[in-house]
């Protein structure tokens, strides 16, 4: 695993590799089950959870419906509160702004609060290219960074690692970048957390510049909100002289009181807690307390593209709680890396194509990385109808290939099917051919499905893509029409057909 998602294969290829990793599946199954159970327990405590979801969805939807106005209000409030506001159209612009601020202060290192937006834009790599070291301070992000690994979950990026692996990473790498892990480090989580505390404290105490994201940005007050657990966020937001926050433009809510449903929905949905240990809110600069120079980078990077999509727009309501990952049967079996993005799981399967378009093969594979079981919609605290968006994005992928000079195999098959179904005689011939195929396949197949019907194994050629991951029931040897003719619609005895299912 190298520390970048660039050049990842399409989902089916990456998923096949992940499925073969039994350690990964064990780690994931344990973690997702634990977090699902915790979430279910604290959600059940809340009377009117459904109404709370509706209220949360409405807050975000209202903000998105008039996003331009809210963003201008936010900019004005931030400036009034003493912050400097930057607008970034894409990753490159955003990274350049952050690097520029660090350079202006002669900083060759920054401390970072865990932030999806900065991971999305590849900020650490961009800063490194400028000779600026970016230290991740969230424990899981530290594990990922020291392991030269990639995040595999939105909330717990090192979910794919168990304690023994974490100990090994700390012992091997901590000494290269600061205070080494203690010699007697065991794999007890409390010992590992203690090692991280010691390792990072030096960095917190000397850092001049910090970089954060924001969970919410309140337009009318210019307040940014960071929700966290470990206190590394508070360290970064409070101790350094300079703070740069990279904020996706969809993080805006209109008013301070709109935070109410969000702060009730987020912790219960994400970590399964009534409230996360620490939430920090701040508006610009507070004289004598905290950073005295505050920058806010408002990031588009495909968000206006998603906003223009009538069906997909709702994905921008996402508050990155990751509840959809933890209930997804596909995610639980393959983990986050197979999605080839910092946004894995069901939300990643719609967010990536919405932000980036479906022009590359990897992104275009994501809307298919789902069984459409609907569990993700059930748990989403802001009621994003992920299955509907998945289907819509599948249509977008198909549409993007309509002008291809060499059509995709599915398109050829669909065209042939249309031709066959449009004429009764053709359909009859096709059914007869399929009956013959069914008899042949039935002889060769080794799999028997529930109900006694046999299934084809892995088919050769273009069909391999379909049968590689599924059982294909062998076609019935006799079609309905043939049965009707033979038995006169069931009036004659029906005793001799072979392969009745």
């Amino acid at each position: 695993m190298s520390g970048t998602f660039v050049g990842m294969p399409a989902f089916p290829t990456a998923a096949r590799e992940a499925l073969a990793d039994t350690q990964l599946r064990r780690n994931l199954a344990h973690a997702t089950r634990t977090i699902r159970d915790k979430r279910a327990a604290v959600v059940a405590e809340v009377e009117g959870w459904e109404e709370l979801r509706v209220a949360g969805a409405a807050v975000k939807e209202a903000a998105l419906r008039d996003l331009a106005t809210h963003l201008e209000t936010l900019e004005a409030s931030l400036v009034r509160a003493g912050a400097t506001v930057h607008w970034a159209r894409d990753a490159e612009e955003a990274c350049a702004i952050v690097a520029g601020v660090a350079r202006d202060h002669g900083a060759d290192e920054v401390v970072k609060v865990k932030s999806m937006a900065t991971a999305e834009i590849g900020l650490n790599e961009a800063l490194e290219a400028e000779g600026i070291a970016a230290w991740e301070t969230d424990l899981a992000e530290l594990i990922v960074q020291l392991g030269d690994d990639l995040p595999s979950h939105i909330l717990v990026p090192a979910i794919h690692r168990n304690r023994a692996e974490v100990r090994e990473i700390f012992r091997r790498r901590m000494g290269d970048v600061g205070r080494p892990a203690p010699d007697d480090l065991t794999d007890e989580p409390s010992m590992l957390a203690g090692a991280a505390r010691e390792h990072l404290r030096d960095k917190f105490l000397r850092a001049k510049v910090a970089v954060s994201g924001a969970n919410f940005a309140v337009a009318d007050t210019g307040t940014l909100v960071v929700v966290e657990s470990e206190g590394n966020g508070r360290m970064c937001l409070t101790l350094p002289d300079v703070l740069v926050s990279v904020v996706g433009i969809e993080k805006v809510v209109a008013t301070w009181s709109d935070l109410d449903p969000m702060l009730r929905l987020l912790p219960r949905s994400s970590t399964g807690e009534r409230m996360n240990p620490y939430t920090s809110t701040w508006s610009g600069v507070t004289p004598g307390d905290g950073p005295q120079e505050v920058h806010v980078v408002l990031l588009d990077n495909g968000r206006t593209r998603a906003l223009a999509d009538d069906v997909g727009r709702q994905a921008l309501r996402c508050i990155r709680c990751s509840a959809c990952l933890n209930v997804c049967p596909v995610y639980e079996r393959v983990g986050g890396h197979a999605y080839g993005s910092v946004y894995p799981g069901p939300i990643g399967a719609i967010l990536n194509p919405l932000l980036n378009g479906v022009s590359d093969e990897q992104t275009a594979s994501l809307p298919y990385a789902s069984s459409l079981c609907g569990a993700c919609f059930e748990v989403c605290p802001v009621r994003i109808d992920i299955p509907s968006v998945l289907v819509d994005q599948r249509a977008a992928v198909v549409d993007s290939h309509r002008g291809d000079r060499v059509p995709k195999p599915e398109a050829v098959v669909m065209k042939a099917a249309a031709w066959t179904f449009s004429d009764a005689r053709r359909l009859r011939w096709a059914e007869r051919a399929s009956g013959v195929a069914g008899r042949v396949l039935g002889r060769f197949s080794r799999t028997t499905l529930p109900g006694g019907r046999t299934a084809a194994g892995r088919l050769p050629g273009p069909a391999a893509g379909w049968t590689g991951a599924r059982d294909l029931p062998a076609p019935p040897p006799e079609s309905f029409r043939e049965w009707w003719d033979r038995t006169d619609g069931g009036h004659r005895p029906d005793d001799d057909q072979e392969g009745r299912s």
Partner: protein, 177 residues
């Protein structure tokens, strides 16, 4: 600014009968420590909690803490050498077991309640409200706020909750009244 559209109201938690009991239960559920005492006992309770620990207090604490230093813009490194901090709070939330600081003079700068390893937080029973919406309504968004639910914690390793990563590893709430 009023919202552009009418939003459906977020439901409120039913007012729990005994807010204070719920607050204590939920704060303790986070493995924070809670001591209840009468307002005139606060000095001796705080002294007992601190024991021999060195401590820093905000300039407006309004309580004599023997042996403590008053925050005078100490650097982070200087604060790192101090064991404990004593602050007051703005509001307590029963439903979630949360205390919120708005860093007024009785609570001090954000750094003092962050760097020392033990945070002793004095909350008046009259400051406890039912749920998050009540707290939101009381707080001033122009001020920085810190919402604290138990000590610093992580669940990043196999989802096992571990107290104490970067913030104070012990939170001791002294509840008055």
């Amino acid at each position: 600014m009023s919202p552009a559209v009418d939003l459906p109201p977020a439901p409120r938690a039913p007012d729990r009968g005994d807010l204070i009991a719920l607050f204590v239960e939920r704060v303790e559920d986070y493995r924070a420590l809670v001591t209840r005492c009468a307002p005139d006992e606060v000095g001796s309770v705080v002294a007992e909690v601190l024991g021999s620990a060195s401590s820093v207090v905000p300039p407006g604490l309004g309580l004599e803490v023997p042996g403590s230093v008053v925050d005078d813009g100490w650097t982070a490194a200087e604060l790192d050498a101090i064991d404990a901090v004593v602050t007051r709070a703005r509001v307590g939330i029963a439903e979630t077991g949360t205390i919120v600081l708005d860093h007024a003079p009785d609570q001090g700068r954000r750094a003092i309640s962050l760097v020392p390893d033990l945070h002793v937080c004095i909350v008046d029973a009259t400051q406890v409200v039912a749920d998050v919406p009540d707290a939101i309504a009381l707080l001033d968004p122009a001020r920085p706020t810190t919402w604290i639910s138990g000590p610093s914690a992580t669940s990043d390793i196999e989802l096992d909750r571990v107290e104490g990563v970067h913030g104070p590893r012990t939170l001791h709430v002294v509840l008055l009244g």
